[in-house]
Symmetry: C2
Subunit: 360 residues, 2 copies
């Protein structure tokens, strides 16, 4: 029996433009089968959460334009569970809004907020970490994060510093640290009590709403103004009018960096945010020449270290190409060095400038 | 007014497998718009000949399986003009067969036999060369070829040695020379009276049939046995049964190397047999980075000397790739060094071995 107080908010409004040309405004990354497993990233995330959380308690927070994609890819999900943002306003407004809707439905709710497009290898370890956190949040006024054990001094993530004197699994957080430079990241790793901030949060609806009320009273009031309408036919009208007026602010900044009752549970699973083609390459199985292949049938000669993706069963012949991203879809072919993967956003902009907006 | 005695046989039965993946068994090179002009190679060849020759006198010699492609791409052509080979038997049998059909229709016919997949820049020069040859063949018992002025010691073509004492445009041929090695090819060029054999022949139907009768009496008799049926409803039955029994022999070997009345007219136009992706690259216009592009919209960074072809208007982003053949179609993507273009047949065989026959 799954606990009826367990809830989830899946964040599915982003675009993931470093995964262009597969990820586009019309069809972002989380709705693609990036790993070639047969499931899209949002499907994998949904079913991972559904091991612990009743499916009817999993809410999908996304942009209006992805409503149909969500309902199509997650047939168990009812329209009631799809919370639509009429505008992009960062994470705090949408989490506050969804939390108020959940509170109105179940004031004893304990919830996880999680991105819909991350890779997690060991699903049982994930479930066990979340369960432990949920039990803690049920009994304590706590805002919790799931911290990832750093494997190298990555300068692309924020870090969470925890109190190393605490020997329980769940540790009080000393402070959140913004993306460091390389030297600082190295010192974080050598200190041993720093974790990557993966943007995975857990708390009771009581605690998170109390934190919003204390730390962001204006934003809190802004969404409380519509409380009567939530989960009714009037909700949509209120949200359409008022959501765009909300402050653009992240939940990290709005709550986590301002509260005292912050805890972290170090993940016991292997994690990857699948931020770039290179990070996807790292996580995929390789062929004998160390090429990572999704969907394609590849004939490779003197070609290794490539990330190759095409439409299902397309034959891709590569000769003499090393460490490239080769991504082919109906209207775009990208042949690009893996070392320059951070430039893909720029490339997309150049393509739009040269050939029109439709392609991103 | 075009001369009603002028005829053409367009050879359109080959496959051009070095142009894989565009050229395939089901859809060979001559039926593709290889140059990105909007016309397929057979269309360009047909309309080039039609400047001099009445369209109803242009016959297309091809394999049964390409009948529909011919009628679709050349709407002026009637079924009567499509001469189908039930089996591959090299050039002599099909030219003999087509010549007998033409003789039965017009015994004063003068004809050109030409490949359907070559590139000729100056169409007026071509027309003028052919016209001069036709006039000569009308008045003389001559088997003529159109010889191409060599631009480098190519070891991939046969050569035609002509009598350098002849100062008229049309020159008696001394001998045909098979593909030479590099040293011999260089000596041919330095001697100055050697031309490339482009497989373009001109003669009167009287002369070519006399030559077949003299030099290949068995083959001649084999096809004369069906003479009564040609251009009637019985023709197909005779050909189906007897064509496959004909000897497999080229017209070069069957007639040209054995006859005395051979002449050559040196072409005054620029020619290319479009044998490989590299030769196509040479003939196409280039962008500012020296990339030759067909159909694609290309964003190239640090990428030059490439032959890039895709479906119409596909965006192709290439970065850091030099002197490659990049050819993309729905079910195959080829990324292959131009220097290895002669290996494409082998690659096709590997693809068939690994992924099945359907792709070539």
């Amino acid at each position: 029996m799954k606990n009826k107080n367990y809830y989830a908010i899946l964040m599915a409004g982003g675009v993931g433009s470093r995964f262009w040309p597969i990820s586009t405004q019309d069809f972002p990354k989380q709705f693609h089968d990036m790993l070639g497993t047969g499931d899209t990233l949002i499907q994998k995330t949904f079913y991972r959460l559904a091991k612990l959380i009743p499916t009817e308690n999993i809410f999908i927070l996304t942009n209006e334009r992805y409503n149909d994609l969500v309902l199509e890819q997650l047939p168990e999900v009812k329209q009631r569970q799809v919370v639509l943002e009429p505008a992009m306003r960062n994470t705090a407004p949408c989490i506050l809004y969804a939390s108020l809707k959940i509170q109105k439905e179940n004031e004893d709710a304990v919830m996880i907020v999680a991105p819909s497009d991350h890779w997690i290898e060991d699903e049982d370890a994930f479930t066990s970490n979340v369960k432990e956190a949920f039990e803690f949040c049920s009994k304590n006024d706590a805002l919790m994060t799931l911290g990832i054990q750093p494997t190298f001094p990555n300068t692309g993530y924020g870090y969470i510093e925890y109190n190393k004197k605490e020997d329980k699994t769940i540790k009080p957080v000393i402070q959140f640290r913004e993306k460091p430079d390389y030297e600082l990241a190295k010192s974080f790793l050598s200190q041993g009590n720093f974790l990557w901030n993966a943007g995975i949060f857990m708390w009771s609806v009581k605690s998170v709403l109390a934190a919003f009320k204390n730390n962001q009273p204006e934003l809190f009031q802004h969404f409380m103004n519509g409380y009567e309408t939530y989960n009714t036919v009037e909700e949509s009208e209120f949200i359409q009018e008022n959501y765009p007026k909300a402050e653009n602010i992240s939940v990290d900044y709005a709550l986590m960096e301002k509260s005292e009752n912050i805890y972290v549970i170090p993940a016991t699973f292997d994690w990857n945010d699948l931020g770039t083609w290179g990070s996807l390459y790292d996580k995929l199985d390789k062929d004998e020449s160390n090429n990572a292949i999704v969907n394609a049938k590849v004939l490779a000669t003197d070609a290794s270290g490539n990330m190759i993706r095409s439409n299902k069963n397309k034959v891709v012949v590569v000769d003499g190409i090393t460490d490239y991203i080769i991504v082919d879809k109906d209207e775009v072919l990208l042949i690009f060095p893996k070392t320059k993967e951070q430039d893909i956003k720029k490339v997309l902009q150049q393509v739009k400038d040269k050939f029109g907006e439709g392609l991103g």
